[in-house]
Subunit: 337 residues, 2 copies
């Protein structure tokens, strides 16, 4: 179904969003063999200009006929648009790499982090999904530990930046901060509560069981990518007043014992992971420092003595790059390799 070529026509849906823009620049940075780049977005953003490989391109309006002669479509425009337009793109002969939550748990759709389960790309029906940003960060750390000592249960609390919600949320944090420092009233459009100088234990919508979709999706996503239904995960997802990159406080129970030193050793060998862990010099991963980085950073590795085989970690990932845009482009690279 997918024909190898020298160069590919690539479309980016949601090209003007935070992730879409990063997809465009990563395609250029990594010299993805693009013959033609098609930039698509909603009416609101039609006509916006984006630079790619030294040329200014105009953003077109996403429509049913947008995918003619397109080989690969990177979707990052929300679940609703993916649900509607991904099947149309597949029908038109393209392969879809979707960063939204629309298809992640669909059994016909591989959910892929290339460093972990690139083999899952061998079988698909035109759509491939990229896990959500918090799951990718967690997966990069969990996979080598799971391989070494088998993970039984994870308790994770996230510190998610506003860029995970999109460009308007970045503006909201900046705007509220400026307003507060000038003793003015704040505006709330994106979040139900003030996000400036405040943390919201609310990421995505709430479900019947009291968890958010984000919290439940992490459990499902991790089991699917690691291909082990026995892994248990409970999550609390929190939005913090940080512009970019997500942090995660992770407690892990494993089947066999792993010391902090052994954990650092296996994590260091994982492609795409940097162990950054020297508390005596106040060195641990920070959202500010990891922003713009491709790697997932891990620090504060320490044994949890409250259970037989316990480990605590602090993970930081650039949610826009490896958490979304980079992972999608890496999937595309695997498809054409």
């Amino acid at each position: 179904m997918f024909k190898k070529k020298n160069k590919y026509t690539v479309a980016v849906v949601g090209a003007t969003g935070a992730v879409g823009r990063e997809m465009v620049s990563i395609l250029e940075e990594r010299k993805f063999p693009v013959s033609e780049l098609v930039l698509l977005a909603s009416d609101r953003s039609e006509g916006e200009k984006i630079e790619f490989s030294g040329k200014i391109r105009s953003v077109g309006k996403l429509a049913k006929d947008s995918f003619k002669d397109v080989d690969i479509v990177l979707f990052s425009a929300g679940s609703d648009r993916s649900l509607k337009f991904a099947p149309i793109a597949v029908e038109a002969g393209a392969i879809v790499i979707d960063s939204s939550g629309a298809f992640r748990m669909d059994p016909k759709v591989p959910l892929v982090v290339p460093e972990i389960n690139a083999h899952a790309l061998e079988k698909h029906a035109g759509i491939i999904a990229s896990p959500n940003c918090s799951s990718i960060g967690l997966l990069m750390a969990l996979k080598p530990i799971h391989a070494a000592v088998k993970i039984k249960r994870i308790v994770v609390t996230t510190f998610q930046s506003v860029s995970g919600t999109g460009k308007d949320a970045i503006d909201e944090l900046a705007g509220q901060t400026v307003a507060l420092l000038n003793f003015k009233d704040i505006e709330k459009k994106i979040y139900p509560h003030q996000i400036a100088f405040n943390c919201l234990p609310h990421v995505d919508g709430f479900l019947e069981n009291g968890y958010t979709r984000e919290e439940m999706e992490m459990a499902d996503g991790i089991r699917k990518v690691v291909e082990d239904e026995s892994i248990q995960l409970t999550a609390t997802a929190v939005r913090v007043p940080v512009f970019r990159s997500h942090a995660e406080s992770v407690n892990i129970e494993t089947e066999r014992k792993i010391s902090a030193n052994e954990a650092r050793a296996v994590l260091s060998k994982m492609p795409g992971v940097v162990v950054y862990d020297d508390p005596s010099r106040s060195l641990y991963p920070l959202q500010l420092d990891v922003t713009g980085k491709d790697e997932t950073y891990i620090g504060r590795v320490r044994e949890d003595e409250t259970i037989k085989n316990g480990l605590n970690l602090w993970i930081v990932i650039d949610n826009i790059r490896k958490g979304a845009a980079l992972n999608a482009v890496q999937i595309a690279e695997h498809l054409i390799s």
Copy 2:
């Protein structure tokens, strides 16, 4: 040793700090029977003016002879000053209520949250300690659950505001935020890294085992106040760019099953606790809302299905009030009642 009177001479050590100022205003609010208020601080703050009961008072310099005729001393000036001056105050005949970490784990010193273990006040040697702010928030939630179904293990991640570090840290967050919004370089004096728009997995100093003192102290403090050495606790303490109040993401494993509804019911009956938990209307405790409140707020109560008897909670406490100043004044109230 401690003579009941109609009114008491009360000293506040560290009177110009965030907690010290709150102690002064809480003594007034709660109509503590003060005959004389002695305000003490280091040289740097000597001569500063603070209002109490409609009268402006001058802050004196903390010295060995500061405690003559003082009945009760509230210490909130750091461990070093408590270690040096608390025994001097006791020697002079005063009773000391210490908010620092200096004496918390001293077996001769009761560690008290009045709603939980006021009985521990019956036996002391002149010094009584107040637990650290994160521990108090956690204890207010844990105690009724422990009484109902016995807690085996806790995994907690904190979201601690900069006011926990003191007034200079509040200035640092505000100053860095203003600088960044004006595209200027930031100044770092209090924290080793930028705190504006960033989260630091680093509260208090690091120990040999990779944990911070804050993280280890939570485990020790909780066991001491609840008077159950079997409770296991592992913590990750994180500083967030929020001015005031601490939040905590808490996972609890209990001996017997407790449903989310039952947990809400027992928490609601705990004096000093407010259950604020209606996710369908985006209602959950927020640091911004709990600031200035006496109660500890608990929300996002939900069962954790990854273990037989699991529960997740989100706790928010005003670290300056119930987390420090109010708890100290409540201890004083119990002593004189």
